[in-house]
Amino acid sequence: MRMYEISKEPIEIQAVIDKVVQREAGAITTFIGTVRELTHGKKTLFLIYEAYEAMAVKKLEQIGAEIEECWAGSQVAITHRVGRLDITDIAVVIAVSTPHRADAYEANRYAIERIKEIVPIWKKEHWEDGESWMGNQLETVSYPSGKPEEGDLDE
């Protein structure tokens, strides 16, 4: 069973959850990242996700190992989608099982924060009036295609 995957196909939530079911776990949390229509009042039409796939899987594995070391008895599975995603489509599913519930929330939260730090995956937002690679996890850095320093090279 592959606990960490980059998928070109729609993610089946139940399949990710099934990977972390264990007799010792009393709690499973999932985080499901979906494509939101509005970001800072701007209307998204769709997104393209791109990954450095081999490294992305390695980095997801690293995050899982960090969690299993930090939260005793935890099990982790993560699948991240790539390709074109429409509004409400699922970009990522993180499932974490732990013996007790507090850990399941904390470990899951840790996973998404780490994904936004170290996993080589990028999203390009498409709006009615343009498109742009989103620059970082805080969504404060972006690379609008209209900017002069890039405009020279974009075709």
Partner: protein
């Protein structure tokens, strides 16, 4: 020879998913400088580098055959 991968806005800037070039013996910083000059790559100070799928610092020396990737700020999740 070395395969050098580009992603997101860097791929748009270079116009290719990867280049094959000889970077053996150079540091990451030296390779970056060369590519910035040649392709006018924007904001390389925010771009991380990976050697063989692991993050590498600017002073690391590239060996022949290493796969290099330039990693703009990530935005998965």
């Amino acid at each position: 020879m070395n395969k050098v991968l580009f992603f997101a806005h860097l791929r748009d800037a270079v116009g290719a998913e990867y280049l094959t070039l000889d970077a053996g013996g150079k540091t990451v910083a030296e390779l970056k400088d060369e590519l910035v000059e040649k392709y006018d790559l924007p904001r390389m100070e925010t771009v991380m580098t990976a050697i063989n799928e692991e993050f590498a610092s600017n002073d690391e020396v590239i060996r022949d055959g290493d796969e290099i990737a330039f990693i703009p700020p990530v935005s998965g999740g």
